[in-house]
Symmetry: C2
Protein backbone atom coordinates (compact mmCIF):
# COMPACT_ATOMS: atom_id res chain seq x y z
CA UNK A 1 0.00 0.00 0.00
CA UNK A 2 1.07 3.57 -0.71
CA UNK A 3 0.74 5.43 2.57
CA UNK A 4 0.69 9.21 2.53
CA UNK A 5 1.86 9.31 6.16
CA UNK A 6 4.44 7.38 8.20
CA UNK A 7 2.27 7.66 11.34
CA UNK A 8 -0.66 6.17 9.46
CA UNK A 9 1.52 3.38 8.10
CA UNK A 10 2.83 2.55 11.59
CA UNK A 11 -0.65 2.36 13.08
CA UNK A 12 -1.93 0.21 10.20
CA UNK A 13 1.06 -2.13 10.52
CA UNK A 14 0.42 -2.52 14.26
CA UNK A 15 -3.24 -3.35 13.69
CA UNK A 16 -2.48 -5.80 10.89
CA UNK A 17 -0.37 -7.86 13.34
CA UNK A 18 -3.62 -8.84 15.08
CA UNK A 19 -4.92 -12.31 14.18
CA UNK A 20 -7.39 -12.24 11.29
CA UNK A 21 -6.74 -8.58 10.50
CA UNK A 22 -5.23 -7.82 7.07
CA UNK A 23 -3.92 -4.48 5.83
CA UNK A 24 -7.26 -3.33 4.39
CA UNK A 25 -9.16 -4.12 7.60
CA UNK A 26 -6.38 -2.52 9.65
CA UNK A 27 -6.68 0.66 7.58
CA UNK A 28 -10.45 0.68 8.06
CA UNK A 29 -10.07 0.31 11.84
CA UNK A 30 -7.39 2.99 12.05
CA UNK A 31 -9.44 5.46 9.97
CA UNK A 32 -12.45 4.68 12.17
CA UNK A 33 -10.42 5.57 15.29
CA UNK A 34 -9.06 8.69 13.56
CA UNK A 35 -12.64 9.89 13.22
CA UNK A 36 -13.11 9.73 17.01
CA UNK A 37 -12.19 12.35 19.62
CA UNK A 38 -8.66 12.36 21.05
CA UNK A 39 -10.06 11.33 24.44
CA UNK A 40 -11.75 8.22 23.06
CA UNK A 41 -8.61 7.21 21.17
CA UNK A 42 -6.53 7.67 24.34
CA UNK A 43 -8.98 5.48 26.27
CA UNK A 44 -8.71 2.82 23.57
CA UNK A 45 -4.91 2.84 23.42
CA UNK A 46 -4.44 3.02 27.18
CA UNK A 47 -6.96 0.25 27.94
CA UNK A 48 -4.71 -2.35 26.34
CA UNK A 49 -1.46 -0.88 27.73
CA UNK A 50 -2.92 -0.81 31.26
CA UNK A 51 -4.38 -4.29 30.93
CA UNK A 52 -0.99 -5.73 30.01
CA UNK A 53 0.81 -3.80 32.77
CA UNK A 54 -1.64 -4.40 35.62
CA UNK A 55 -3.09 -7.80 34.76
CA UNK A 56 -2.92 -10.41 37.52
CA UNK A 57 -3.59 -14.10 37.52
CA UNK A 58 -5.34 -15.90 40.37
CA UNK A 59 -2.74 -17.61 42.60
CA UNK A 60 -4.90 -20.72 42.83
CA UNK A 61 -6.52 -21.29 39.41
CA UNK A 62 -4.36 -18.97 37.23
CA UNK A 63 -7.41 -17.36 35.64
CA UNK A 64 -7.13 -13.65 34.73
CA UNK A 65 -8.13 -11.65 37.81
CA UNK A 66 -7.82 -8.16 39.29
CA UNK A 67 -7.10 -9.65 42.74
CA UNK A 68 -4.49 -12.20 43.94
CA UNK A 69 -7.33 -14.73 44.37
CA UNK A 70 -10.13 -14.63 41.79
CA UNK A 71 -13.82 -14.22 42.58
CA UNK A 72 -14.54 -17.89 41.85
CA UNK A 73 -11.74 -19.28 44.05
CA UNK A 74 -12.72 -16.94 46.89
CA UNK A 75 -16.49 -17.52 46.64
CA UNK A 76 -17.95 -19.55 49.54
CA UNK A 77 -20.71 -20.75 47.19
CA UNK A 78 -18.37 -22.67 44.89
CA UNK A 79 -17.54 -26.33 45.42
CA UNK A 80 -13.71 -26.17 45.60
CA UNK A 81 -13.34 -29.96 45.60
CA UNK A 82 -14.46 -30.19 41.97
CA UNK A 83 -11.79 -28.81 39.65
CA UNK A 84 -12.53 -28.15 35.99
CA UNK A 85 -9.28 -28.00 33.99
CA UNK A 86 -9.42 -25.70 30.93
CA UNK A 87 -7.06 -24.26 28.33
CA UNK A 88 -7.60 -20.53 28.90
CA UNK A 89 -9.81 -17.82 30.31
CA UNK A 90 -12.17 -17.97 27.32
CA UNK A 91 -13.17 -21.49 28.33
CA UNK A 92 -13.85 -20.34 31.90
CA UNK A 93 -16.10 -17.61 30.51
CA UNK A 94 -17.88 -20.04 28.17
CA UNK A 95 -18.56 -22.52 30.99
CA UNK A 96 -19.60 -19.75 33.41
CA UNK A 97 -22.10 -18.52 30.81
CA UNK A 98 -23.86 -21.90 30.91
CA UNK A 99 -24.62 -21.50 34.67
CA UNK A 100 -24.33 -25.31 34.91
CA UNK A 101 -21.04 -25.63 36.78
CA UNK A 102 -20.51 -24.72 40.42
CA UNK A 103 -17.01 -25.99 41.11
CA UNK A 104 -13.62 -24.31 40.71
CA UNK A 105 -11.31 -24.05 37.71
CA UNK A 106 -7.70 -24.60 36.82
CA UNK A 107 -6.47 -22.65 33.80
CA UNK A 108 -3.53 -24.33 32.04
CA UNK A 109 -2.61 -21.27 29.97
CA UNK A 110 -2.43 -23.25 26.74
CA UNK A 111 -2.10 -26.79 25.39
CA UNK A 112 0.92 -29.00 24.87
CA UNK A 113 2.05 -28.36 21.30
CA UNK A 114 5.52 -29.57 20.29
CA UNK A 115 5.05 -27.88 16.89
CA UNK A 116 4.83 -24.49 18.63
CA UNK A 117 7.51 -25.38 21.17
CA UNK A 118 5.04 -25.54 24.08
CA UNK A 119 5.85 -28.32 26.52
CA UNK A 120 4.24 -29.33 29.84
CA UNK A 121 6.62 -27.07 31.78
CA UNK A 122 5.27 -24.01 29.93
CA UNK A 123 1.78 -24.68 31.31
CA UNK A 124 0.34 -24.65 34.84
CA UNK A 125 0.39 -28.44 35.09
CA UNK A 126 2.79 -28.78 38.02
CA UNK A 127 0.63 -26.42 40.05
CA UNK A 128 -2.45 -28.54 39.20
CA UNK A 129 -0.69 -31.69 40.43
CA UNK A 130 0.39 -29.74 43.53
CA UNK A 131 -3.20 -28.59 44.07
CA UNK A 132 -4.58 -32.14 43.79
CA UNK A 133 -1.84 -33.40 46.13
CA UNK A 134 -2.32 -30.79 48.85
CA UNK A 135 -6.05 -29.94 48.89
CA UNK A 136 -9.08 -32.25 49.12
CA UNK A 137 -10.35 -32.98 45.57
CA UNK A 138 -13.46 -35.04 44.76
CA UNK A 139 -13.33 -34.88 40.97
CA UNK A 140 -11.18 -33.53 38.18
CA UNK A 141 -13.08 -32.58 35.00
CA UNK A 142 -10.86 -32.23 31.94
CA UNK A 143 -12.68 -29.74 29.68
CA UNK A 144 -10.15 -29.61 26.88
CA UNK A 145 -10.80 -29.12 23.14
CA UNK A 146 -10.87 -32.31 21.07
CA UNK A 147 -7.93 -31.30 18.87
CA UNK A 148 -4.55 -32.95 18.40
CA UNK A 149 -2.98 -30.61 20.98
CA UNK A 150 -5.96 -31.13 23.28
CA UNK A 151 -5.68 -34.93 23.11
CA UNK A 152 -1.93 -34.78 23.77
CA UNK A 153 -2.57 -32.57 26.80
CA UNK A 154 -5.42 -34.80 28.02
CA UNK A 155 -3.22 -37.87 27.82
CA UNK A 156 -0.37 -36.16 29.65
CA UNK A 157 -2.69 -34.83 32.38
CA UNK A 158 -4.23 -38.27 32.84
CA UNK A 159 -0.75 -39.81 33.26
CA UNK A 160 0.19 -37.22 35.90
CA UNK A 161 -3.12 -37.40 37.81
CA UNK A 162 -4.22 -41.03 37.63
CA UNK A 163 -2.35 -42.14 40.78
CA UNK A 164 -4.19 -39.72 43.08
CA UNK A 165 -7.30 -41.94 43.38
CA UNK A 166 -9.49 -38.99 42.32
CA UNK A 167 -12.18 -39.59 39.65
CA UNK A 168 -11.05 -38.01 36.37
CA UNK A 169 -13.82 -37.17 33.88
CA UNK A 170 -14.02 -35.36 30.54
CA UNK A 171 -16.89 -33.33 29.12
CA UNK A 172 -19.35 -35.33 27.00
CA UNK A 173 -18.73 -35.45 23.25
CA UNK A 174 -21.62 -35.95 20.87
CA UNK A 175 -24.08 -34.32 18.52
CA UNK A 176 -24.86 -30.74 19.57
CA UNK A 177 -28.42 -29.86 20.59
CA UNK A 178 -30.11 -28.70 17.41
CA UNK A 179 -27.44 -30.45 15.34
CA UNK A 180 -28.55 -32.61 12.41
CA UNK A 181 -27.22 -36.15 12.21
CA UNK A 182 -26.57 -36.07 8.47
CA UNK A 183 -24.11 -33.18 8.86
CA UNK A 184 -22.25 -34.66 11.85
CA UNK A 185 -18.76 -36.03 11.22
CA UNK A 186 -18.33 -39.81 11.37
CA UNK A 187 -16.13 -39.92 14.47
CA UNK A 188 -18.52 -37.82 16.56
CA UNK A 189 -21.60 -39.71 15.35
CA UNK A 190 -19.91 -43.08 15.83
CA UNK A 191 -18.75 -42.25 19.36
CA UNK A 192 -22.16 -40.79 20.23
CA UNK A 193 -23.76 -44.16 19.48
CA UNK A 194 -21.11 -46.11 21.39
CA UNK A 195 -21.41 -43.79 24.42
CA UNK A 196 -25.24 -43.53 24.31
CA UNK A 197 -27.01 -42.54 27.54
CA UNK A 198 -30.44 -43.44 29.03
CA UNK A 199 -33.08 -41.11 27.55
CA UNK A 200 -34.10 -39.74 30.95
CA UNK A 201 -30.52 -38.49 31.51
CA UNK A 202 -30.52 -36.56 28.23
CA UNK A 203 -33.45 -34.29 29.09
CA UNK A 204 -32.49 -30.69 29.89
CA UNK A 205 -33.85 -29.86 33.32
Amino acid sequence: MNFSSKLLEDAVNEFSKLPGVGQKTALRLVLHLLGKEQEEVDTFGNSIIRLKRDIKHCNICHNISDLPVCSICSSPKREKEVICVVEDTRDVMAIENTSQFFGAYHVLGGLISPMDGIGPSDLFIDSLVQRVATTPVKEIILAISATMEGDTTLFYLYKRLKDFQVPITTIARGIAFGGELEYADEITLGRSIVTRVPYVNSIIK
Copy 2:
Protein backbone atom coordinates in the same frame (compact mmCIF):
# COMPACT_ATOMS: atom_id res chain seq x y z
CA MET B 1 -20.07 -12.17 29.06
CA ASN B 2 -18.83 -13.00 32.56
CA PHE B 3 -15.48 -11.28 32.90
CA SER B 4 -13.15 -12.32 35.68
CA SER B 5 -11.37 -8.96 35.54
CA LYS B 6 -12.50 -5.36 35.17
CA LEU B 7 -9.35 -4.46 33.23
CA LEU B 8 -10.03 -7.28 30.79
CA GLU B 9 -13.65 -6.21 30.43
CA ASP B 10 -12.61 -2.60 29.74
CA ALA B 11 -10.14 -3.63 27.05
CA VAL B 12 -12.66 -5.97 25.41
CA ASN B 13 -15.34 -3.27 25.45
CA GLU B 14 -12.95 -0.80 23.79
CA PHE B 15 -12.07 -3.28 21.05
CA SER B 16 -15.68 -4.22 20.44
CA LYS B 17 -16.46 -0.58 19.60
CA LEU B 18 -14.42 -1.05 16.40
CA PRO B 19 -16.52 -1.63 13.26
CA GLY B 20 -17.10 -5.31 12.53
CA VAL B 21 -15.62 -6.45 15.85
CA GLY B 22 -17.99 -8.25 18.22
CA GLN B 23 -17.32 -9.22 21.84
CA LYS B 24 -15.90 -12.65 21.00
CA THR B 25 -13.51 -11.26 18.39
CA ALA B 26 -12.55 -8.44 20.77
CA LEU B 27 -11.72 -10.98 23.48
CA ARG B 28 -9.62 -12.99 21.01
CA LEU B 29 -7.69 -9.86 19.98
CA VAL B 30 -7.17 -8.74 23.59
CA LEU B 31 -5.94 -12.19 24.69
CA HIS B 32 -3.62 -12.24 21.68
CA LEU B 33 -2.10 -8.91 22.76
CA LEU B 34 -1.89 -10.14 26.38
CA GLY B 35 0.37 -12.93 25.13
CA LYS B 36 2.84 -10.36 23.73
CA GLU B 37 5.65 -8.57 25.57
CA GLN B 38 4.85 -5.31 27.40
CA GLU B 39 6.99 -3.41 24.90
CA GLU B 40 5.01 -4.66 21.89
CA VAL B 41 1.70 -3.85 23.58
CA ASP B 42 2.96 -0.33 24.40
CA THR B 43 3.97 0.14 20.75
CA PHE B 44 0.53 -0.99 19.65
CA GLY B 45 -1.38 1.24 22.05
CA ASN B 46 0.84 4.28 21.50
CA SER B 47 0.82 3.99 17.69
CA ILE B 48 -2.86 4.89 17.57
CA ILE B 49 -2.66 7.55 20.33
CA ARG B 50 0.27 9.23 18.56
CA LEU B 51 -1.41 9.01 15.15
CA LYS B 52 -4.50 10.78 16.42
CA ARG B 53 -2.45 13.45 18.25
CA ASP B 54 0.12 14.21 15.56
CA ILE B 55 -1.83 13.57 12.36
CA LYS B 56 -1.84 16.39 9.82
CA HIS B 57 -3.85 16.95 6.69
CA CYS B 58 -2.38 18.46 3.53
CA ASN B 59 -3.33 22.15 3.32
CA ILE B 60 -4.09 21.80 -0.38
CA CYS B 61 -5.79 18.42 -0.94
CA HIS B 62 -6.72 17.53 2.71
CA ASN B 63 -5.21 14.06 2.38
CA ILE B 64 -3.58 12.58 5.53
CA SER B 65 0.03 13.72 5.58
CA ASP B 66 2.99 14.11 7.97
CA LEU B 67 3.81 17.50 6.42
CA PRO B 68 1.71 20.65 5.86
CA VAL B 69 1.74 19.90 2.10
CA CYS B 70 1.57 16.23 1.10
CA SER B 71 4.08 14.47 -1.13
CA ILE B 72 1.68 14.43 -4.10
CA CYS B 73 0.81 18.14 -3.92
CA SER B 74 4.50 19.05 -3.54
CA SER B 75 5.78 16.71 -6.29
CA PRO B 76 6.97 18.50 -9.46
CA LYS B 77 6.10 15.38 -11.45
CA ARG B 78 2.36 15.59 -10.82
CA GLU B 79 0.00 17.46 -13.11
CA LYS B 80 -1.62 19.90 -10.64
CA GLU B 81 -4.18 21.13 -13.18
CA VAL B 82 -6.01 17.78 -13.10
CA ILE B 83 -7.85 17.34 -9.81
CA CYS B 84 -9.32 13.99 -8.84
CA VAL B 85 -12.01 14.47 -6.18
CA VAL B 86 -12.39 11.50 -3.79
CA GLU B 87 -14.21 10.64 -0.57
CA ASP B 88 -11.28 9.75 1.68
CA THR B 89 -7.65 8.74 1.94
CA ARG B 90 -8.45 5.10 1.12
CA ASP B 91 -9.57 6.16 -2.35
CA VAL B 92 -6.32 8.08 -2.86
CA MET B 93 -4.38 4.94 -1.90
CA ALA B 94 -6.49 2.76 -4.19
CA ILE B 95 -5.98 5.09 -7.18
CA GLU B 96 -2.26 5.53 -6.43
CA ASN B 97 -1.91 1.74 -6.42
CA THR B 98 -3.11 1.61 -10.03
CA SER B 99 -0.19 3.85 -11.18
CA GLN B 100 -2.55 5.18 -13.86
CA PHE B 101 -3.19 8.69 -12.53
CA PHE B 102 -0.62 11.49 -12.48
CA GLY B 103 -2.67 14.47 -11.40
CA ALA B 104 -3.49 15.83 -7.95
CA TYR B 105 -6.28 14.95 -5.51
CA HIS B 106 -8.90 16.65 -3.44
CA VAL B 107 -10.12 14.65 -0.43
CA LEU B 108 -13.67 15.59 0.62
CA GLY B 109 -13.46 13.83 3.97
CA GLY B 110 -16.78 12.03 3.48
CA LEU B 111 -19.97 12.15 1.43
CA ILE B 112 -23.12 14.21 1.83
CA SER B 113 -25.45 12.09 3.94
CA PRO B 114 -28.50 13.79 5.47
CA MET B 115 -29.29 10.52 7.31
CA ASP B 116 -26.01 10.80 9.23
CA GLY B 117 -26.28 14.57 9.57
CA ILE B 118 -23.40 15.25 7.17
CA GLY B 119 -24.04 18.28 4.99
CA PRO B 120 -21.86 20.05 2.37
CA SER B 121 -20.41 22.35 5.05
CA ASP B 122 -18.96 19.35 6.92
CA LEU B 123 -16.87 18.41 3.89
CA PHE B 124 -13.99 20.14 2.09
CA ILE B 125 -16.25 21.33 -0.72
CA ASP B 126 -15.81 25.08 -0.25
CA SER B 127 -12.04 24.63 -0.38
CA LEU B 128 -12.41 22.68 -3.64
CA VAL B 129 -14.47 25.48 -5.18
CA GLN B 130 -11.87 27.94 -3.88
CA ARG B 131 -9.09 25.85 -5.44
CA VAL B 132 -10.83 25.74 -8.82
CA ALA B 133 -11.51 29.48 -8.64
CA THR B 134 -7.96 30.53 -7.73
CA THR B 135 -5.63 28.05 -9.45
CA PRO B 136 -5.48 26.94 -13.11
CA VAL B 137 -7.50 23.74 -13.52
CA LYS B 138 -7.81 21.76 -16.76
CA GLU B 139 -10.09 18.96 -15.59
CA ILE B 140 -12.01 17.86 -12.51
CA ILE B 141 -12.44 14.09 -12.19
CA LEU B 142 -15.17 13.07 -9.76
CA ALA B 143 -14.12 9.61 -8.49
CA ILE B 144 -16.99 9.05 -6.07
CA SER B 145 -18.66 5.75 -5.15
CA ALA B 146 -21.90 4.98 -7.01
CA THR B 147 -24.03 4.90 -3.86
CA MET B 148 -26.97 7.08 -2.82
CA GLU B 149 -24.67 9.34 -0.79
CA GLY B 150 -22.16 9.34 -3.64
CA ASP B 151 -24.76 10.39 -6.20
CA THR B 152 -26.05 13.14 -3.91
CA THR B 153 -22.51 14.43 -3.47
CA LEU B 154 -21.79 14.17 -7.23
CA PHE B 155 -24.89 16.17 -8.05
CA TYR B 156 -24.06 18.85 -5.47
CA LEU B 157 -20.43 19.11 -6.66
CA TYR B 158 -21.58 19.41 -10.27
CA LYS B 159 -23.94 22.26 -9.33
CA ARG B 160 -21.15 24.11 -7.52
CA LEU B 161 -18.50 23.56 -10.22
CA LYS B 162 -20.36 23.72 -13.54
CA ASP B 163 -20.02 27.50 -14.02
CA PHE B 164 -16.21 27.43 -13.96
CA GLN B 165 -15.94 26.33 -17.63
CA VAL B 166 -13.70 23.41 -16.57
CA PRO B 167 -14.40 19.92 -17.98
CA ILE B 168 -15.98 17.76 -15.26
CA THR B 169 -15.65 14.00 -15.73
CA THR B 170 -16.48 10.93 -13.66
CA ILE B 171 -14.72 7.57 -13.60
CA ALA B 172 -16.10 5.01 -16.06
CA ARG B 173 -18.82 2.67 -14.79
CA GLY B 174 -19.24 -0.76 -16.35
CA ILE B 175 -18.48 -4.45 -16.10
CA ALA B 176 -15.21 -5.08 -14.21
CA PHE B 177 -12.33 -6.72 -16.03
CA GLY B 178 -12.78 -10.46 -15.43
CA GLY B 179 -16.44 -9.90 -14.55
CA GLU B 180 -19.05 -12.17 -16.11
CA LEU B 181 -22.01 -10.58 -17.86
CA GLU B 182 -24.58 -12.99 -16.44
CA TYR B 183 -23.72 -11.96 -12.86
CA ALA B 184 -23.70 -8.20 -13.53
CA ASP B 185 -26.62 -6.18 -12.20
CA GLU B 186 -29.08 -4.80 -14.76
CA ILE B 187 -28.29 -1.12 -14.25
CA THR B 188 -24.55 -1.58 -14.70
CA LEU B 189 -24.99 -3.86 -17.73
CA GLY B 190 -27.62 -1.58 -19.28
CA ARG B 191 -25.47 1.55 -18.83
CA SER B 192 -22.39 -0.28 -20.11
CA ILE B 193 -24.20 -0.92 -23.42
CA VAL B 194 -25.50 2.64 -23.68
CA THR B 195 -22.05 4.09 -22.93
CA ARG B 196 -20.13 1.62 -25.10
CA VAL B 197 -16.67 2.67 -26.31
CA PRO B 198 -14.65 1.92 -29.49
CA TYR B 199 -12.85 -1.40 -29.03
CA VAL B 200 -9.40 0.14 -29.54
CA ASN B 201 -10.00 2.43 -26.53
CA SER B 202 -10.79 -0.52 -24.28
CA ILE B 203 -7.45 -2.29 -24.67
CA ILE B 204 -5.16 -2.05 -21.63
CA LYS B 205 -1.87 -0.56 -22.78
